[in-house]
């Protein structure tokens, strides 16, 4: 049985071109980029090339504004903690939103333990932040605003441009968690004007466990990893050259094909949303239809719990993800969905279907074909469902 993989937001298959580039690098590039002899130079060149490719994808003015990290989480931690620690006497207050990824939430909670205070602003029913609310939350001692670009549970895209304008007016550095935006929708950090933008390699078909942080020239932050002089002294440690080469290739491909990929994903998304009512009666579509990731659908199937749906689909060879507490190993239903106003049971029944370039219309159809009977048989078990 062929697996139909519709969980590209958790982990995207590495693109064939990227695999080829990495397989080649595996045979060739093994000098230490910091060491001075010729083999080292070859690696330094590969690193520089990848940096240019990534800078190209995100619209950075200078390649050196891109620092490679080991994942989106590291980028986020470096951006947030690094800025907070470097702020010194300027203040100890940070503004964020209620729908951030755990990498942001937990970084901030760690800073709270270190004496910082945090204001977290709410979102509306579509999961959008109001820039005016952010403006109001900024205080004299605010040293950072951290807002995500696109949400990985609802697909909602935030008004980051307006938030950036607010932050520039108030002269507060802005960090944008763009892990689920870069490579999926157009991102131009130079136009955005944020000081810090986090992203990863995998969402657009690069290898997992490789990330990047855009640090606008002139931005001060303390490294998270102290040691050698790699990455412009912003991140010490021997580079994962293989991963970085893969990220570079994935960035090059994404920059070239982004509009086509978005168009294609939107087609699959629309097909799914159009046909969904034919197989499920009672469901909610989450997020903001006017500002959403083209490749993600977030639906809450009412009266059901998500892991059980996911598991049954998986048995039929269809892989999706769920935001149910049971599945995520978390204690409560997703804070993102609850923040957007879903009730507990609906949040528990949320499926996230996400497309990659390898998916086809047949995949959508197969998902729907399997979903119908799955929902029917689980509704029979549910104490919440009254016919």
């Amino acid at each position: 049985m062929e697996t139909v993989y519709l969980d590209n937001i958790s982990l995207c298959p590495v693109l064939p071109e990227v695999r080829r580039a990495m397989a080649r690098a595996l045979e060739e590039d093994w000098g230490n980029p910091s060491s001075q002899h010729r083999l080292g130079e070859k690696s330094a060149e590969a690193l520089a090339k990848a940096r240019e490719q990534v800078a190209g994808l995100i619209g950075a003015n200078l390649p050196r504004e891109v620092v490679f990290t080991s994942c989106g989480t590291e980028s986020v931690n470096l951006a947030i903690k690094g800025t907070a620690w470097a702020a010194g006497e300027k203040g100890k207050h940070i503004v964020t939103t209620n729908i951030e990824h755990n990498a942001v939430i937990r970084s901030l909670r760690r800073l709270k333990q270190m004496g910082f205070s945090i204001t977290s602003v709410p979102v509306d029913g579509k999961g959008r932040v109001d820039p005016a609310t952010v403006a109001k939350a900024i205080r004299k001692d605010t040293v950072l605003v951290s807002v995500m670009w696109a949400n990985n549970e609802m697909g909602t895209i935030q008004p980051v441009e307006e938030i950036s304008r607010v932050c520039r007016e108030k002269k507060v550095p802005l960090h944008v968690d763009a892990v689920d935006a870069v490579g999926l929708i157009p991102v131009n950090v130079e136009e955005l004007g944020a000081q810090l933008v986090s992203f990863a390699s995998n969402p657009y078909g690069g290898p997992a466990g490789v990330g990047g942080l855009y640090i606008r020239r002139g931005t001060r932050l303390w490294p998270l990893l102290d040691g050698g002089v790699q990455e412009g002294r912003n991140r010490a440690g021997t580079e994962n050259l293989l991963g970085v080469i893969g990220m570079g290739e994935a960035a090059r491909l994404a920059a070239e094909t982004l509009p086509a990929r978005m168009e294609y994903a939107r087609g699959l998304r629309n097909r799914l949303l159009e046909k969904l009512p034919r197989v499920v009666d009672d469901f909610l579509v989450n997020g903001d239809p006017d500002n959403c990731l083209p490749n993600l659908v977030s639906v809450s199937i009412r009266h059901l719990e998500g892991e059980s749906i996911m598991l049954m689909l998986d048995e039929e060879g269809v892989a999706v993800s769920t935001r149910s507490a049971c599945a995520s190993g978390s204690l409560r239903a997703s804070h993102v969905l609850l923040s957007a106003g879903l009730d507990f049971a609906d949040a528990q029944g949320t499926l996230v279907i996400s497309f990659g370039p390898q998916n086809t219309e047949a995949d959508v159809d197969r998902f729907l074909e399997v979903l119908g009977p799955t929902v029917k048989s689980l509704l029979a078990i549910s104490p919440l469902y009254k016919k």
């Binding site: 209620n98 939430i105 945090i118 599945a327 190993g329 804070h335 528990q348």
Partner: protein
């Protein structure tokens, strides 16, 4: 992740549904993950003659409910009261450590159903247990599904990371 037996009971759950004129109903919610289980029993000659369940919960919770009803069916009430969550988990050939709390739901819900039957028979007013009352018994270890550390007896949730997901960062 799940054993074959769990998957079998999850995919083909036994005794699903309600009993219209049930003699006892036990309803229990799990404060850890917000899930719900309802057990219906029909009692004949102090034996569980019929048993059905409805569950809103994960694969493990469904399998636990199904297995529990299989074990309980035909047992005397006294025997049924002695079914432990561990018995159910063992009959399922084990549950992942962070899913052990789902199995706690099963035996507890059955006990509530039996109590409901006995209360009714004795003419006592039927107690409705608030669904978030999770009964930790001393011999059954319970692990936080989030951080995998043991949740001590008498504590409903893991202190280490209680509800940390839900709250925003401030």
């Amino acid at each position: 992740m799940y054993s074959k037996t769990v998957m079998d009971h999850f995919k083909n759950p036994r005794n699903v549904g309600t009993i219209e004129d049930a003699d006892g109903i036990g309803e229990l919610g799990n404060p850890l993950c917000g899930d719900m289980m309802t057990i219906y029993i029909k009692v004949v000659d102090d034996r569980i003659d019929d048993i059905k369940f409805q569950t809103f919960g994960c694969g493990a919770a469904i399998a636990v409910s199904s297995m529990l009803t299989e074990i309980a069916k035909g047992k005397t009430l006294d025997e049924a009261k002695k079914i432990t969550n561990k018995d159910v988990a063992e009959a399922l050939e084990g549950l992942p450590k962070n899913k052990l709390h789902c199995s706690n739901l099963g035996a507890d819900a059955l006990k509530l159903a039996i109590k409901d039957y006995e209360d009714k028979k004795a003419g006592r007013p039927r107690e409705k247990t608030p669904p978030d009352q999770h009964l930790h018994t001393p011999e059954e270890k319970c692990y936080c599904p989030y951080c995998d550390t043991e949740v001590p007896e008498g504590q409903a949730i893991c202190e280490n990371c209680a509800f940390s997901e839900e709250e925003p960062a401030d």
